[in-house]
Assembly symmetry: C2
Homo-oligomer: 134 residues x 2
DNA sequence: CTTGACTCCGTATCATGGTACGGAGCGTAT
DNA sequence: ATACGCTCCGTACCATGATACGGAGTCAAG
């Protein structure tokens, strides 16, 4: 239940440097050092909660949130700011719908291109016009 | 029918600097100067074909190709390399399908989150768990 | 025949999201 | 008690896709 930074990185599927990067960006906080009996103190320890946050960050990135926005979402969670959270979610849903439609159109174009280029020789394989009409 | 770089940029919906950037990256070629009667020659002129390429670049980017890959596609078009073009298209279709599925899952999660956070007070608004199960 | 808009080109800078390096310190197993 | 591996931290660097800057040249209108 107490992770070193390397274990946390493993559990979250990221690298150690990424953890530190997220800490600098305010997405993860930096726990107190373990035992302050040396000039610099011991290693920092992480818990299950940090794993949760890390996984949230991964998913939120996939959803298209920027790290900046993810930092805000994490603050909203702490503050229990439902309204703002809902707004961010709604805005992202709209953006996702647009993005999905865009990708589906691109997919259709590529599918057409692929078919056209299938015939060995003869017939067109108009790469430059693949997206005509998009 | 003869564009200056600024007109080309307009027609392609990009900035002048972007055109030059694409030229450096080999996505667009650099036409000969117009009239070589000065120490440096006149301005370069662009045609409808450049507009076509520029639009292709835009669409191909949307489809998720990198500029590197787009440069290759443009070369393939010139070389009429059907097989390779088809391979690139197929690979991209697979990647697009994966991406679309991912975005749809994210959308569903956000939709759930948005609903949960809708109720003013009472009930959960579990931002951190929004993507649980993804 | 000058002014103003545009071009050319090299180089620098930006934003995003990391990844790497290097010199300390610390802690655990042998 | 000493060596090995991990940690800490600052700083530097990377890739991608642009975007900006500055000085010089050019061109067309007034």
């Amino acid at each position: 239940m107490a992770f070193t930074i390397a274990k946390l990185a493993d559990a979250g599927g990221v690298g150690v440097e990424t953890i530190r990067f997220y800490q600098r960006r305010g997405l993860l906080d930096v726990p107190k050092r373990n035992s302050g009996d040396g000039p610099t103190g011991g290693a920092r320890r992480y818990g299950q909660d940090d794993v949760r946050r890390l996984r949230f960050i991964r998913s939120a990135k996939t959803a298209g949130f920027t790290l900046e926005e993810i930092a805000e979402l994490l603050r909203l969670d702490a503050a229990n700011d439902r309204a703002r959270a809902r707004d961010l979610a709604s805005a992202r849903i709209l953006a996702l719908d647009a993005k999905i439609a865009e990708l589906q159109a691109a997919r259709a174009s590529l599918s057409r291109l692929s078919k056209a280029c299938a015939r060995q020789q003869g017939g067109p394989c108009p790469i430059l016009d693949a997206f005509a009409g998009d």
